[in-house]
């Protein structure tokens, strides 16, 4: 098992990074009830860990006996009926699923699963909660229709089920849903916190950390705890008695993006843009989200950019990212950004150096 999983805090008490949040959540458990929750925060900040710890705290060990199933839903829309298959994790107390996997039919999934859970309402035995918990991942990827239908079902079945929603950005969750939940912001851990975690793991694994080693990993992790721990383990595997200036190997796709950035800065022409396009395709094919590509590309470009241009380039990056989210062909917008950058950069070069 990777350290990421091995040293994941199982209960709210053991949580190191978001102690404050964990304490608040514990209060809900003590009060035997909780409202709908919406966890949001950047990836690798510990949302899922918190949610799992919370559920464990609520239902005890029974919540850890989960099984994976591919459930088929029979959807009857009135005009037509069809089957929808979706993988979900369930224990006797909760269900976890990723409704956005159903594509544009996600709204039926949301309705159906909640209704079904409401039907099989657990009996209020002593010491047991009278509700089930439904964990919905990646709510920000739900279609607007699904979110609207969620809004109604949330209220209607609140007696028998609690929703825990989890997403990266709350801005893509509709206002209505947000207002029905208690919003829990799980921010990215600060570098100090990451160092703290790494040292904790080092102690558990009986490792000697040279001074500043953890800090260096934390700095490279981009405030992503998952990444930090993985880097840490990579370092351990590659060379155990850590050398004082050891650095974890870079992420491959980030390396690739920085190569692209170098390409862009070295030549600005439609031909170069065409070769950049091929590289973008390579990244996209390998499931790298286009937003991440754009973000990483921007940071890489920023490193070598004149201060005057930074502001403008950032603005355009934001512009094209917005466009990208509106459309469906990410490659168009990535390319458009690169073209724009090339244009700006070239103009700047001509103006400066003639």
């Amino acid at each position: 098992m990777l350290w990421v999983d091995k040293h994941r805090p199982k209960t709210l008490d053991k949580v190191i990074v978001h102690e404050q949040v964990a304490q608040n959540l514990k209060k809900f458990v003590a009060e035997q009830d909780c409202p709908h929750l919406l966890f949001y925060g950047p990836p690798g900040s510990g949302k899922k860990t918190l949610i799992m710890a919370l559920i464990k705290q609520m239902f005890g060990a029974g919540a850890e006996k989960v099984k994976m199933e591919n459930k088929t839903w029979k959807i009857d829309t009135g005009t037509r009926t069809f089957d929808l298959e979706l993988a979900m994790l369930s224990s006797s107390h909760h269900v976890e699923m990723n409704p956005s996997d159903a594509g544009f039919q996600d709204r039926y999934v949301v309705q159906e699963v909640i209704k079904e859970m409401a039907k099989s309402r657990p009996i209020d035995a002593k010491g047991k909660r009278a509700f089930k918990v439904l964990v919905l991942n990646e709510v920000d990827k739900l279609s607007r229709e699904a979110q609207h239908s969620l809004r109604r079902t949330m209220e209607k079945y609140s007696a028998s089920c609690r929703l825990i929603l989890c997403c990266n950005s709350s801005s893509k969750v509709t206002e209505a849903v947000r207002s029905r939940c208690l919003n829990v912001r799980v921010n990215a851990p600060s570098e100090d916190q990451i160092v703290q975690v790494l040292e904790f793991i080092g102690k558990k694994e009986n490792l000697q950390l040279p001074f500043g080693f953890a800090a260096r990993i934390a700095a490279q992790s981009n405030r992503n705890l998952r990444r930090a721990i993985l880097f840490f383990e990579t370092c351990k595997v590659q060379q155990y008695p850590f050398s004082p200036n050891q650095v974890p190997p870079p992420l491959d796709w980030e390396q690739y993006v920085s190569e692209i950035a170098t390409d862009i800065l070295s030549e600005q022409s439609p031909k170069r843009l065409y070769s950049v396009r091929q590289k973008f395709y390579e990244l996209l094919v390998n499931c790298i989200p286009p937003e991440s590509i754009l973000k990483k590309l921007l940071t890489e470009l920023m490193k070598k950019l004149d201060a005057d241009l930074k502001h403008e380039v950032c603005r355009w990056a934001a512009h094209y990212e917005h466009k990208m989210r509106l459309g469906s062909k990410a490659i168009f917008h990535l390319e458009a950004f690169v073209a724009k950058f090339m244009s700006i950069y070239k103009e700047f070069l001509v103006a400066t150096f003639g």
């Binding site: 990777l2 990836p43 990444r227 383990e233 590289k279 094919v285 390998n286 991440s292 509106l326 090339m342």
Partner: protein, 935 residues
Amino acid sequence: MEVDMDMPDPEELEWMESNGLLPEEEEYAYFDDPEEGFLPAAAVASKPQVAAASPLKPADEVSEANLKRPPPPPPPEQEEERSKRRNVEREDPVDEDWLRYSPPPAVEVVAEKTVSRFASEIQGDSMPVTAPNGERVYAKLATEKLVSEVIEGAGRRASNANHTGLLSESFQSLTMQAEQDALAKALLESTDTQYVEGCPVTPVVTEQLWVEKYAPHSFTELLSDEHTNREVLLWLKQWDSCVFGSHIRATSDDTLSALRQHSCAIQKNSSNRSFFSKIKGGYVTSRDSMPQNESGSNSEDLKNNFNKKPSVDNVPEQKVLLLCGPAGLGKTTLAHVAAKHCGYHVVEINASDDRSASSIEPKILDVVQMNSIMSDSKPKCLVIDEIDGALGDGKGAVEVILKMINAEKNKNSDRSTGTDETPVQKASTRKGHKIAKLLRPIICICNDLYAPALRKLRQVAKVHIFVQPTISRVVNRLKYICKKEGFKTSSIALSALADYTECDIRSCLNTLQFLNKKREALNISGFESQVIGRKDMSKSIFDVWKQVLQKKKPKRAEMADSHVSGDKDIGSLFSLISNRGDYDVTMDGIHENLLRLSYHDPMLQKTVKCLDVLGVSDSLTQYVYRTQHMSIQAYQPSIAITISRMVAQVEKPNIEWPKALQRCRAVLLEKKDTLKTWQNRMSPLISRHLSVESFVEDIASPFLHILSPLSLRPVALNLQSERAKNELVQLVDTMVAYSVTYRNTKFEPQERANGSIVPTDIPSLSLDPPISDIISFKGYQSEHIGLSLAVKQVLVHEVEKQKIMKDSAGKLLNQTSEAVTSEVSTVTCQEAAAVTALDSSKGSSKLKSATVPMQFNSASSLRGKDMSPAKKPSSRPTDFFHSFRKERPAGAKSHNDAAQQGATVQRDLRPLIFKYNEGYTNAVKRPVRVRDLLL
């Protein structure tokens, strides 16, 4: 020269060759249009009173099309004209061809006098004439004058033709005579059996559509591209040896002459394009004879070729011809004319027929395999028109054809040696066979080559794409027709018309006829306002891309008012794109090909603009999909036009299908799927924290590093140092937890590429969920080091072991939780939960303690119940286990409980020992788990 290949008949060629330089006079006889040529002669041969019936074709040529427009004997003034023209022909029969194209002179003028379908229209005496196919016309009894004129004309010609030559009479006239005899016989028969009274009806308009009236009837009259014509004819000729077999020399004289003439035409095409200049130059003979010679020598080669290959069934390689091109260029006409030219009887199946696979199959079989039993039997040639038309129905035909072709291929591979029997015989012997064989040419005609229904056919068929004939050719033909019809036009107007309709001859003719009816003149300026409707054409997607990305060469006339022409361009582009309709693909294609254009853009402003509008188009599409406001799609063409205005170049773009984007989507889905299935295989406790994105972004690269530690040595687990052992255990544990393993692959291409010789027998191991693929970008050298093969093998072994232990542990866990009594349950349950949570190396020891009661239980009950040893040692301990569990009385548990606890401790102390008494292996009766053996 290719064309010579068409000439099928070696003997004819030989004969021609022996004649050497053909005298001018005789040449005329050959060059002359076959129809025209024999008409006067026919008139002579037949008796005076039936002279008027001469238009009826000889029996073997009869078809409805021909009968509808019976050409009467030419009036004297025309005869004169022709003799004038004859001079012209000598100089350049080629370019003359299409101009001279002599359709039957105006029917409604002359037909009233001589031949008509209605007796009432004929003045004076008339007699009914019925053709063998039942078509009936009334022929006027000839007057003395007419007959004499005809005779005179024919006589003159005959003398010309007979001037020199080996035969006393020209070959042509001999055949004509024979035909005439046959005709006369047929007429005699029909006259005494049938008599129908003339039906007095209201005068019917006998005017035909010009399109039909002036349709080309011989190969030389075709307007379409010469090259295509020749190719089609060549293809058809390749069938000769198969279709006609031994009677190959039956190729009619006119075919040969036309071919010959044509071959000259092509040779001369390059040298003297305009014959007007030639006319002024006067009488040129030397030029003419040269090509003759050349064609002669070429034909010798050809003859040799023919001799080398005896008539085994050497059918052409591609058995189906696919003609495609926009409407109105003469595809159907070409197919008909060429087939007729090669001596086939054309059978047409078009969109109006029933075209389901079941109904079309017998039809095709009929044509392709059967021989008509009629004496005049011509082989049939199948023309399937508009094969792309209806998708569902058209497919039927395509499927049948494909089936036949494929069947044939299989058969050919079976028996490669040819047989002596002629193909015709073969067909009859094969009749019993289920799978049909293609023995006759099939010509398919379509508009859109890239129609989905044709995808498979495209691969096996010989494809010919029609190109527009040059405007001047079309205009000249139009001019000729207008003159014939007495419709006044200017050539400028006609060329404008041709341009406007994109050389669609059919639409040109229809327009002209319409205007003629309305007594309006053709007006250049008012095309838009005039009756000429623009065709609602949808072009192939490649055409659309081409139009967008390629600038039209500005013509001189348009240069003057450039903004006007610009408007027109935009308009046509707009309609083009919106007619195509498939905006998604259109935009993809533009995007794909955009950056490969060589437009001038130093500051990349154009590129930025183009990509920006493409982005707009993308969001527009997305919005439309989401909201279903389809009407907004109307703004898509303007986006493409913007791009076109920005980057279109004059030179021809090299357009490619947008494969990259589609491939990207497909591969992306595939990879996501792989990752998802992998995720499902993992323990849910781990997989719940993973998403595809987070895995790819954060985990993949470190994970691969972790999976290939540098310190690992290829030694078995028990031989390693303590630390290495720990590392290995942890690695195996990780691999099991993430359900990763190594798997055999045949060989890795990279290794081979490096030059190191890797024998393919040695298996190389690669990660089972191909995680390493995720980080392999093109042109990127990753820092990951693969483990050596030996280490991998060790790992595979360990992983398998670990898996078995885990499985058995899981199984036991389930059984325990069922079987243990309530007293133990709380404890065990917690333990079990802990086991799954903690890593299994630690867990297994705890697990043992948890499962021991069970084992002991069974063991003890075994001892109690089954005193005598079982006859056969069981290979599957679990079965044993089960059978006892079932039999065990429910109460037994509680009895044994106390004993169990003690026994557990006891049994844990001593290891598992197998004691073999000599020759008595049945001693091992305790159920033993693989897990225990592995530890």
